[in-house]
């Protein structure tokens, strides 16, 4: 303990040297030195080795049996879980399409009944469009963000029972959000992400490894379509901090990042629910705390 830094370095160096030069086990070395080189011949040698080997064989088999006993169960559970997710997805899609059909029916019926109330319907139509309830098309900008194509496989850490992740994710919900935010700032009138239309209540979030837009899971590549003044948006987006950030990542991490003007982009509708908690205050305002 007298020369502390030197002694510490010595330990670390010892470890590294041992790793690299691969010396023989010191236990065996010492025993051989004591014996003087000739192989030992004690009476208990063979039985001892035999017993140890039997135990080792036994341990290895126990471990194997134990691991594989659980495997079919966990695989089955996973499969059923994946099946349930798929079923929920298609159920949700079916509901969404019937909601769209009903919406169209309602609009048609209303249109017929409201002939003459031009101002009201005009305003309503415009609001519906901006709220994402109507499918639209028009010129605009399309931005594509993609995970690097050579995804490295990372085995998940941990003990038995966990399933390894098969791809690393560099892009997250924040990246999609940044692009969308920038597009709104650059003059977009309507935006869709992987064909999910953004509404006033849509959120772009993260659940584990999947990006969720308005509760719907999407995966790379992320196609963001924004309708608006194409040339103006292109110039503004190209010179934005967001665009230069992802341009750098293309070189650094190999992500895919492209954007370009389009003459005619199509965005689907996303029927928005009527608000359940918020409503317009009644004409006689009641004094409540927190008004601004």
């Amino acid at each position: 303990m007298s020369q502390r830094p030197g002694a510490d370095q010595g330990h670390v160096a010892q470890l590294l040297i041992e790793l690299v030069t691969n010396p023989r086990d010191p236990g065996y070395e010492a025993a051989a030195a004591r014996r003087g080189g000739a192989p030992s011949r004690r009476w208990y040698d063979a039985p001892l080795v035999a017993m140890a080997c039997a135990v080792i064989g036994f341990v290895l088999v126990i471990a194997y049996v134990h691991t594989h006993r659980a495997a079919p169960e966990t695989a089955k559970v996973r499969q059923s879980l994946i099946a349930r997710v798929h079923a929920a997805e298609s159920h949700g899609n079916a509901l969404a399409s019937s909601a769209r059909t009903l919406n169209n029916e309602l609009n048609a019926l209303r249109g017929k009944a409201l002939t003459g109330a031009g101002a009201l319907t005009g305003e309503l139509d415009q609001e519906e469009l901006l709220a994402g309830q109507v499918a639209v098309h028009g010129p605009g900008l399309q931005v594509e963000l993609a995970e690097p194509t050579s995804s490295s496989t990372t085995a998940g850490p941990g003990r038995a029972g966990t399933v390894p992740i098969t791809a690393t994710h560099i892009l997250s919900d924040r990246d999609v959000r940044s692009v969308v935010n920038e597009l709104w700032a650059d003059g977009a009138e309507a935006i869709s992400v992987n064909d999910v239309r953004l509404t006033p209540t849509s959120a772009i979030r993260f659940a584990g490894q999947a990006v969720l837009v308005d509760f719907q899971p999407i995966s790379s590549p992320y196609t963001i379509r924004a309708i608006g003044p194409a040339e103006q948006m292109d110039t503004a987006f190209a010179s934005s901090a967001v665009a230069s950030r992802y341009q750098t990542l293309v070189g650094a991490d190999g992500i895919g990042f492209t954007f370009g003007e389009h003459n005619d982009l199509s965005l689907p509708a996303s029927p928005a629910a009527a608000p359940r908690y918020a409503h317009v205050p009644s004409p006689t305002p009641t004094r409540t705390k927190g008004t601004r």
């Binding site: 086990d25 051989a32 004690r42 039997a54 049996v65």
Partner: protein, 110 residues
């Protein structure tokens, strides 16, 4: 020889009995496996180097298992069980690799 025969017998007995591992023993199973493999590789290499000693073989296996189990047990009590378990597996794994490399050199002179 005797060693391989005994190993085979242990394997067969294991498959016949198919014991269930109690849950408290589960975290120590990977440790035991890696310690066992380390003892085997170390023993084979010592044999090929001509310095094999039965006592060292048995003692090294038993002590590896006991010490590793103690470390993991302590780690579990202190909240670093998973990480220490990984550390033990990594260190013994490195030893297995270097012993295997030495064995390779003996067998293939490569």
């Amino acid at each position: 020889m005797i060693a391989f025969l005994a190993l085979a017998i242990g394997v067969v007995v294991g498959f016949i009995l198919r014991p269930t591992v109690p849950t408290w023993m589960e975290p120590y199973l990977p440790i035991a496996v890696v310690a066992a493999l380390d003892a085997v590789f170390g023993g084979v290499r010592a044999r090929l180097d001509g310095i094999f000693d039965a006592k060292v073989f048995v003692v090294s296996f038993v002590s590896n298992v006991v010490v590793a189990a103690l470390i993991v047990f302590l780690g579990d009590k202190l909240g670093v069980g998973g990480q220490l378990s990984t550390a033990v597996v990594v260190v013994l794994g490195i030893r297995i690799f270097s012993n295997a490399a030495a064995i390779r050199r003996h067998l293939f002179r490569a």
